[in-house]
């Protein structure tokens, strides 16, 4: 070692058992084992005796290796949970969680142990323990590297690897993280790591949420004096800063061998880690592309403390084929017949077909920097896509690279999108409605290699440190380009691509896109589509609305608008601020419709209200253009029937439609205004209520997973009419999965007939005619002592009461004995929160026809920012419970 460490590093001490009473640590798991030659004594947690007492045979061993400066305490919950699972007749895993030598309660040998030595130490230990049978290694921090060292050296025993925030390789273009650079400075190293507990305390401060005092004490327990902290300094000194470092060769050996591992892999990641950030996850995913990955948004370095990693790991282990999972069920499910896959036409198919056409492909009513509409022909669009595809290739964009598109809808976005798809790059599209914070999370989390953006997007990318090489849609002054870290503008790419061959077309099942939209709860999730699935979305639109070559459509709803060129349809982007759909006016829609002789109109619900509100400004010519429209579609959120009807009156020849779907499946059912009216007036299911969203589209199937008494969707999926439960969907155009959210993937496919089904998180029922009714979100189901209640039907009943504009019905109190509370906005807006006056309360109670604990009047119900139509019932319930407990009154 060239780095000076204090003499305390040379201290020796025998191994010992941890003191009793450390928070969450069961002392009966602790044991001491001597291994190696000369013999060194280890402290480890081991549940072998517990399993033997239970009389169960483990299916395998989890070999858990902590990092620096923690100890086996890190794995206490995994040992406990695995033992509890075995005791509850679940699959039994033996868990061995070691204290590495010089660390925790293992022996202090006074030696400095580099990486090769530590990998050998671990082998000595498993030999001494006589570990036989399948082993899954589990590692965190530098323990990740050492566990992988064991893994690559024991291919015959290795059954899987689990990694929590770790790294096996320092990517060339990245510097060592700043906190480690500081700790590695010779003047700092010894003092920070050994002489003082600074390194330990810095690590313990990384808990998100903050670690409790008791847990911090647990981590500190073995490291109270400098003489016990030598291993901490030794570990830091062992970080291979360059190729000459004694441990560099071993690290390289392990990193290279990891790339050859074929065993199942799980990565549980805290992306807020200031040391082992997303860039290291990216490197590991590159080596183990088959890995199941879950990024816990908000979690940090101590991900094992921040989230329930033990349950996540045990669940994943339960899915392994070796762990005795129920294969018979899976086979039976896969035997269920699937509708035939639609013929695959790549998304750029029509661009190829129409490449000589001088017909209009798209019109941009308000192009950036221009005042007259920009008209792009098919031949121009096809050429631009070819040029950009070549240019992007020349600029280093490779198949499989993720490209974040921060471009507003219009000709530029369309050209770049199809160019990226054509060369097999994965487009990452985030909805501007996410807001800057959500957008930052989305872009950081998707870890794009490239960002293509307009100026505001690029500025944000620079200011917020979003990853990726940056390409500008417009040429920038050199100083600006340098300041923003922009290498190319799109026009540069056209030159750059001269004479460059584009790569072969991507395979139909290659990943095509990651779409982020604002979730109703929690951080936005990236939804992954393959080329085949995205092409199927276009196909579903074509079949449902009879779109095709020559159809003119007004593209006021981006997700569908972008697919128009794939259908050969002529599209127009109206003059509107995309970040604020509410600004779209009726004349702007009419002008757009006139520009492409539109017969189809797509709008978002937020835009719809303003279009109706500005209808008075329409000229006779505008009315004439709108009279050509035959289909009018409002997509993205439920639309009140009167608003749909009012919009329909502006387009006397159009049939108003509203589809039901989600980012995971963009067009699952569709319904016309007439059907809504008929269904609502006949109410085939009595007072069950809900919003009728119509029948599944031709290639979609819908089933219902009925609710149990706890409001959980545990029922066997069924198509029986009248059963309320979680709505399950499948279609060729359904997503493939979520981006690096393994647990979310698993939850969305729990208990479904096969993995092409998706749990929507919505609750509803099918009626006798096969129409789907949405009754609310699963998370908003209310469990009263008299049974499970869904909110939408009750809200509709309350909204029938004179003087009520909008209502939210929520449950308060403990699950299973919740009380119903109605919270209403009134025609004369309330100035403050109050109990409804007795007359209103009586009418509302009468309308609901169930016991209602209270009726509250509020100035505004909390809703989503984007559509101002989805009531945030989770928040409303929390608020109502506070108010009705005598708590302080704030607005909901």
């Amino acid at each position: 070692m060239t780095t000076p460490l204090p003499s305390a590093v040379g201290s020796t001490a025998p191994a010992s058992l941890p003191p009793d009473g450390l928070d969450g640590l069961d002392p009966t798991f602790s044991r001491l084992v001597t291994a190696g030659d000369p013999g060194r004594t280890w402290h480890l947690l081991d549940n072998a005796d517990h399993l033997a007492r239970l009389g169960v045979e483990p299916v395998g061993t989890l070999l858990c290796v902590h990092g620096n400066p923690t100890w086996s305490y890190l794995w206490r919950r995994l040992v406990t949970a695995a033992t509890a699972q075995a005791a509850a007749d679940g699959v039994a895993w033996r868990v061995i969680a070691v204290d590495q030598l010089e660390m925790g309660y293992s022996e202090r040998t006074g030696e400095l142990r580099g990486l090769p030595r530590r990998v050998a130490d671990l082998d000595d230990l498993t030999t001494a323990l006589g570990v036989t049978g399948p082993v899954v290694t589990v590692g965190h921090d530098w323990g990740g590297v050492i566990s992988l060292g064991w893994a690559v050296d024991h291919p015959d025993q290795l059954a899987g690897v689990v990694l929590l925030n770790t790294a096996v390789h320092q990517p060339e273009h990245l510097r060592i993280p700043a906190p480690l650079r500081l700790a590695l400075r010779p003047a700092v190293l010894g003092r920070a790591t050994v002489a003082t507990p600074a390194f330990l305390e810095t690590t313990l401060a990384l808990g998100r949420p903050r670690l409790t005092a008791a847990v911090k004490e647990g981590y500190r327990a073995p490291y109270r004096e400098a003489a016990r902290r030598g291993g901490i300094g030794g570990f830091v000194a062992d970080i291979p800063v360059d190729a000459a470092h004694p441990s560099a060769a071993e690290l390289d050996r392990i990193a290279t061998a990891v790339s050859g591992l074929q065993v199942p892999a799980l990565m549980l990641w805290g992306p807020s880690d200031p040391v082992f950030g997303d860039q290291y996850l990216e490197d590991l995913v590159g080596r183990l592309p088959h890995a199941d990955v879950h990024r816990f948004e908000g979690a940090s370095h101590l991900v094992a403390e921040d989230v329930d990693y033990a349950a996540a790991a045990l669940t994943w282990l339960g899915d392994l084929p070796t762990a005795g999972s129920d294969d018979a069920g899976a086979e039976a499910a896969s035997a269920s017949p699937r509708p035939a896959q639609p013929t695959y036409h790549p998304l750029w198919h029509q661009l190829d077909e129409q490449r000589h056409s001088t017909e209009t492909a798209l019109v941009e009513m308000a192009p950036p920097g221009g005042d007259s509409p920009r008209v792009v022909t098919w031949s121009l669009l096809a050429r631009r896509v070819r040029e950009l595809a070549a240019g992007l290739t020349a600029a280093g964009v490779r198949p499989g690279d993720r490209v974040s598109l921060l471009v507003p809808p219009g000709a530029d976005l369309t050209a770049v999108l199809y160019a990226c798809l054509r060369i097999g790059a994965v487009v990452v599209v985030a909805d501007a409605g996410l807001g800057l914070r959500g957008l930052t999370r989305a872009v950081r989390g998707s870890r794009p290699q490239h960002v293509i953006g307009a100026l505001p997007g690029l500025s944000a990318a620079r200011a917020l440190g979003w990853p990726g090489r940056r390409i500008s849609t417009t040429p920038l002054p050199r100083a600006t380009a340098r300041a923003l870290g922009v290498r190319y503008a799109l026009v540069d790419l056209v030159d750059l691509g001269q004479g460059v061959d584009t790569p072969a077309e991507p395979a139909p099942d290659a990943t095509a896109a990651v779409l982020f939209t604002s979730g109703s709860t929690g951080p936005a999730k990236g939804v992954v589509y393959s080329h085949r699935q995205l092409a199927a979305v276009a196909g579903a639109l074509r079949d449902q609305y009879d779109l095709g070559v020559g159809t003119g459509l007004v593209a006021g709803f981006a997700p569908f608008a972008l697919l128009a060129p794939a259908l050969g349809a002529r599209s127009v982007t109206p003059d509107m601020d995309v970040t604020s759909p509410r600004t779209l006016t009726a004349p702007a829609v009419a002008a757009a419709a006139a520009a492409v002789d539109a017969t189809v109109l797509f709008l978002s619900p937020a835009a719809l209200a303003n279009v109706v509100a500005t209808a008075d400004s329409l000229t006779p010519a505008d009315h004439e253009a709108l009279a050509q429209v035959r289909i009018f579609l409002s997509a993205g959120a439920p639309v009140p029937e009167p608003l749909l009807a009012a919009a329909g009156r502006l387009m006397p020849n159009a049939e108003p439609h509203t589809p039901y779907g989600m980012t995971e499946g963009l067009l699952m059912t569709d319904v016309t205004l007439d059907v809504i009216r008929d269904a609502t007036s006949t109410r085939p299911d009595g007072d069950r209520g809900g919003v009728c969203v119509g029948r599944p589209t031709p290639t979609t199937e819908v089933r219902i997973s009925p609710l149990d008494a706890d409001g959980a969707a545990t029922g066997e999926p069924t198509t029986d009419p009248g059963r309320t439960g979680e709505i399950l969907v499948t279609a060729p155009h359904l997503k493939r999965g979520y981006f690096r959210l393994h647990l979310t993937d698993r939850a969305a496919t729990r208990g479904v007939p096969d993995d092409r089904w998706h749990r929507t998180g919505d609750v509803g029922h099918l009626d006798e005619q096969g129409r789907l009714w949405v009754e609310g979100r699963l998370a908003h189901v209310i469990t009263t002592a008299d049974g499970v209640v869904t909110p939408v039907g009750l809200e509709q009943a309350v909204e029938q009461v004179d003087g009520v504009v909008r209502a939210g019905v929520v449950g308060i109190g403990p699950q299973g004995t919740q009380l119903l509370v109605a919270v209403v906005e009134t025609t004369t807006p309330a100035r403050r929160v109050a109990l409804a006056d007795p007359e209103l309360a009586e009418e509302v109670r009468g309308a609901v026809g169930r016991p209602l604990a209270a009726v509250l009047v509020v100035p505004d119900l909390p809703t989503d920012v984007r559509h101002n139509s989805k009531i945030d019932r989770t928040r409303l319930a929390r608020w109502a419970e506070g108010v009705l407990s005598g708590g302080r009154v704030r607005r909901p």
């Binding site: 002592a785 308060i812 403990p814 004995t817 009380l819 309360a841 209270a854 407990s885």
Partner: protein, 326 residues
């Protein structure tokens, strides 16, 4: 079965005696003033006199114990003597007599320290943290009674919450009197949800507990009994006032202030008890400003009982009784 009902001159006691009688049992009532329940053997006496209590349990097979000092203020020693001493004496006498079933009528306040109750079940009685002399002594009494539970004598505690109905001299009469004197504030706007119990429902639940006391899943337990229809306190009080022809309370006091005032008044009152109760005690302030509603699932399942009279029906009966001059 021959059943002793103590405290049968009050609203709930009379209703219980009548219901037990109607169920086909022989009933003896026992209290200081006449029970006025037709068809029962009425015995007069005091819970504080040992000989009276001995006479009361003589020859009975079951006891329903309602007699208690119920008040928001008063001499702590009185509460002790009647609620604790009286229960202790009665339980011992019943055990000696070979009584097989003993229903202790208690109160949810025995388990709560003044914070809000949002869907809780029946927690153990806690004399240390119970608020006020009434709740504290009733907590001790319930613990005494349940401690006597065994195979020989099966003891069940039933805790009806805020019992009201026509002819009620406790809750309804007090609310109405205070409303008439403009001394009934709505703390914090009266938004706190409270569970109440219409008297017939409380009586039927107690009668159900008597029937079910022999069951091993039932005896030894305490059950909170309510209508299971929590309402904001303002609505409940307004309903009772309207049904009784009293003015509906309108003014509002911040709960913290009222609690502090209640504490001071209560302290003064203890030293110089007067004819009337203090206008506000801490106990009442807490009752009116924090949520008090309960999980009724276990009560209903174990006692095989559901309330027969809804809140709205109860208010209608209150109004009708007022119109008849009852």
């Amino acid at each position: 079965m021959k059943v002793l009902v103590t405290g049968a001159s009050g609203l709930l006691g009379r209703a219980v005696a009548a219901r037990v009688l109607a169920a086909g049992h022989e009933v003896r009532t026992f209290q200081r003033s006449p029970s006025t329940v037709p068809g029962v053997e009425d015995l007069r006496g005091s819970m504080t006199v040992a000989a009276d209590v001995e006479r009361a349990v003589d020859g009975v097979e079951a006891v329903v114990h309602l007699a208690a000092k119920v008040s928001l203020a008063g001499d702590p020693a009185d509460f002790e003597r009647v609620n604790v001493g009286g229960t202790e004496r009665l339980v011992a006498a019943a055990a000696r007599e070979g009584v097989a079933r003993f229903v202790q009528v208690s109160s949810p306040s025995v388990a709560h320290s003044g914070s809000s109750i949002v869907g809780d079940g029946a927690l153990p009685a806690d004399p240390v943290h119970a608020r006020g002399d009434y709740a504290r002594t009733k907590a001790q009494a319930e613990l005494l009674a349940l401690a006597a539970d065994g195979d020989a004598m099966r003891v069940v505690a039933v805790r009806p919450h805020l019992v009201w109905g026509p002819g009620d001299t406790q809750l309804v009469a007090r609310i109405v009197a205070r409303a008439r004197a403009s001394r009934l504030p709505l703390l914090d706007g009266g938004r706190a949800l409270i569970d109440t119990t219409y008297v017939d429902n409380a009586a039927s639940a107690i009668a159900a507990a008597l029937e079910r006391a022999a069951d091993d899943a039932v005896h030894g337990n305490a059950y909170v009994v309510t209508n299971g229809e929590p309402r904001p306190v303002a609505e409940m009080l307004a309903g009772i006032c309207a049904a009784s022809g009293a003015p509906v309370p309108r003014w509002s006091v911040p709960a913290g202030l009222a609690r502090a005032a209640g504490g001071a008044v209560e302290a003064v009152w203890r030293v110089r008890p007067g004819q009337d109760e203090p206008p506000m005690t801490r106990f009442l302030a807490e009752q009116l400003s924090t949520a008090h509603w309960f999980d009724q699932r276990r009560t209903r399942a174990d006692l095989r009982w559901t309330p027969e009279v809804t809140i709205d029906e109860g208010l209608a009966r209150l109004r009708a009784a007022g119109a008849r001059g009852g």
